[in-house]
């Protein structure tokens, strides 16, 4: 599904649009504002027994990459999700170098278009990983 050029007023709006679609997906459990070793991931989800984090940003992709790098301590894959935009060479280099994936919002059942795949994190800390997993499961059961 290709990304669409929907305008969002805030990162929260973007996150809300994604969440409303994720809630309809059966094989995913997720948590908003998930704690990650002193940081917080906008969304952390568990799919096929793998942990993914997603940081939403409208513009500042550099800051998003810095945050996503911290998420790599707790997740198998760390992503940044933005509204569809032009990809610059600098952007491409930065995402690839960091191993952070880039998603564009897509108005579809699965609300993402993968622009760059995240590479599997080699820096996960088992303690943070287990805590994040437990947090997502706990949130799921609590909701």
């Amino acid at each position: 599904m290709s990304a669409t050029c929907v305008k969002f007023g805030s990162e929260r709006e973007l996150a809300d649009a994604v969440i409303s679609r994720l809630m309809l997906v059966v094989d995913v459990i997720f948590s908003r504002e998930a704690p990650v070793v002193g940081r917080s991931a906008d969304v952390a989800l568990c799919r096929a027994d793998e942990l993914h984090t997603i940081e939403f940003k409208l513009h500042d992709w550099r800051q998003a990459i810095r945050q996503a790098i911290d998420h790599q301590l707790a997740a198998d894959f760390a992503y940044v999700c933005m509204p569809k935009r032009r990809i610059t060479d600098a952007m491409r280099d930065a995402f690839v170098t960091a191993g952070v994936g880039l998603l564009f919002f897509a108005e579809a059942e699965w609300p993402f278009e993968i622009v760059f795949e995240a590479t599997r994190s080699t820096g996960t800390w088992c303690v943070a990983y287990e805590r994040l997993k437990a947090h997502i499961q706990q949130e799921q059961h609590g909701s």
């Binding site: 805030s10 990162e11 929260r12 504002e33 998930a34 704690p35 070793v37 002193g38 940081r39 917080s40 911290d70 301590l73 820096g123 800390w125 088992c126 303690v127 943070a128 947090h135």
Partner: protein
């Protein structure tokens, strides 16, 4: 170098009541002397008397914190009530005028308030008396006084004697480039009077020299050094406002070292807020007059002059090789790179073998290290709605502080020559620069350069 009033090179600043458990028991042997803020003495004299006589059994001195009254009165206000903090009010009442009038009126104290010599001398007398007698009176007037007297008479303890600070500190005010010219004469007049009083009564008097970072680069510095060097105190207690050794430039550290050296020509020097850099400098013996370095529990290797006291410590892991506190995610990354998670033996060999780590790190170092990073997640209101924040648990903070205290003891006891010290700093910076970034390890190179110069 034996220094009157300074019990040894390792001085710890007592911060809050919660610090007690890290200053007593096994930890009492890890340091030489305590420094206690006057507002704590005013706030909880009974608990401090017990700490000194029965728990820590340590020589101590009191920082009279007179600089607190020259700043805007908002710095003395309680966050809860908006009025002057209770401990500060007690201090003000003990010190009297020319501080009491303006401060209780919500005003700051000015240099001109000390123009009257009689008033200045009376103020000095009261500041010295507060240090000398507050805790002693607490013991003498307590219900346990007879017990203390019995112990002293039987030679079982020197309880009353222990309540005597090992030195007294003259009143002092903060000197920055803009206002220091006006405050310097006040400081010198207070110092001069207190030294005369001390000489008459054979009480060692120390002078606290508190300067801004910009003073270190200004023409005012020479006037300050000249004025203080003409005096002969038991020691200079030096505090450079907000100077964090692991964030400072080479130029700033060189300037600090010069200040130590210049003042050290007249009397021994104590760095009131310092970390490994000053401790290593002390080990080099390049400045024989640098006799001691003070730190607080974990978070107090530097301190800004304002706010006066307070501050919420956060749990961080002190990485011994880097001599710096790291947030837990950076500590994990660094330990991975240093190979510390490979096995318990590797952890103890490459990261830390202090008593705390030896207990925390058992079968699986990577998992066991989690004890230094356990948090409770709480949902709080952020700028863009509700967000989840993690707060370290009490146990986490205690693990971190105990580890810090053990490592600090090792650092003060080290006798490594300057060459190996600098080589070790360079090696760890090289290994960690990719995971912590240039700025996370830059202090290693800066320290090595200054130590070698």
């Amino acid at each position: 170098m034996a220094v009157e009033g300074i019990a040894g090179p390792h001085i710890v600043r007592y911060g809050t009541a919660a610090d007690q458990k890290f200053l007593t028991g096994d930890f009492a042997n890890t340091y030489d002397q305590l420094v206690i803020n006057a507002n704590m003495v005013a706030h909880m004299p009974s608990a401090l008397a017990t700490l000194i006589t029965q728990k820590a059994n340590k020589p101590f001195f009191i920082d009279p914190q007179t600089h607190a009254f020259q700043h805007a009165s908002t710095h003395l206000a309680s966050a809860k009530t908006g009025g002057i903090r209770r401990s500060i009010r007690r201090l003000v009442e003990a010190y009297g005028d020319p501080i009491q009038g303006p401060v209780l009126n919500g005003e700051s104290v000015l240099p001109s308030d000390f123009d009257d010599n009689v008033l200045l001398e009376g103020f000095c007398d009261r500041v010295l008396a507060f240090q000398e007698s507050t805790l002693k009176s607490e013991v003498e007037e307590s219900s346990d006084a007879k017990y203390y007297q019995f112990l002293e008479e039987e030679g079982l303890a020197a309880s009353f004697g222990m309540m005597q600070p090992s030195l007294l500190v003259a009143p002092y005010f903060y000197l920055d480039e803009r206002t220091g010219g006006a405050w310097l004469p006040v400081n010198i007049a207070c110092a001069d009077y207190c030294l005369r009083v001390g000489a008459k009564r054979s009480v060692p008097i120390a002078l606290q020299v508190v300067v801004s970072q910009d003073v270190l680069r200004s023409g005012l510095l020479k006037s300050i050094v000249d004025a203080y060097s003409a005096l002969r105190p038991a020691a200079f207690l030096v505090w450079v406002d907000g100077l964090a050794e692991d964030e400072s430039s080479e130029e700033l550290l060189q300037a600090q070292v010069r200040l130590f050296g210049q003042l050290g020509g007249a009397a021994p020097v104590v760095n009131l807020y310092g970390g490994y850099f000053t401790v290593a400098l002390m080990h080099t013996k390049r400045l024989p007059s640098l006799v001691a370095v003070t730190h607080s529990l974990e978070y107090g290797e530097s301190r800004s002059v304002v706010p006066v006291g307070g501050g919420v410590p956060v749990a961080k892991f002190y990485l011994p090789a880097l001599h710096s506190r790291l947030v837990i995610r950076d500590a994990v990354r660094a330990i991975k790179v240093l190979g510390g998670f490979a096995s318990r033996e590797r952890y103890l060999e490459t990261i830390c073998r202090c008593a705390e780590c030896a207990q925390v790190i058992q079968q699986n170092p990577e998992a066991d290290f989690g004890a230094y990073g356990v948090t409770n997640a709480k949902v709080v209101r952020g700028r863009s709605g509700m967000v989840t924040r993690e707060y370290p648990t009490t146990e986490t903070k205690e693990h971190c502080v105990r580890h810090y205290m053990w490592v600090k003891q090792q650092e003060y006891q080290e006798t490594a020559d300057i060459g190996p010290t600098c080589m070790a700093l360079g090696a760890v910076a090289m290994k960690l620069q990719r995971v912590l970034g240039d700025s996370g390890v830059a202090h290693c190179g800066v320290w090595a350069t200054v130590l070698r110069s």
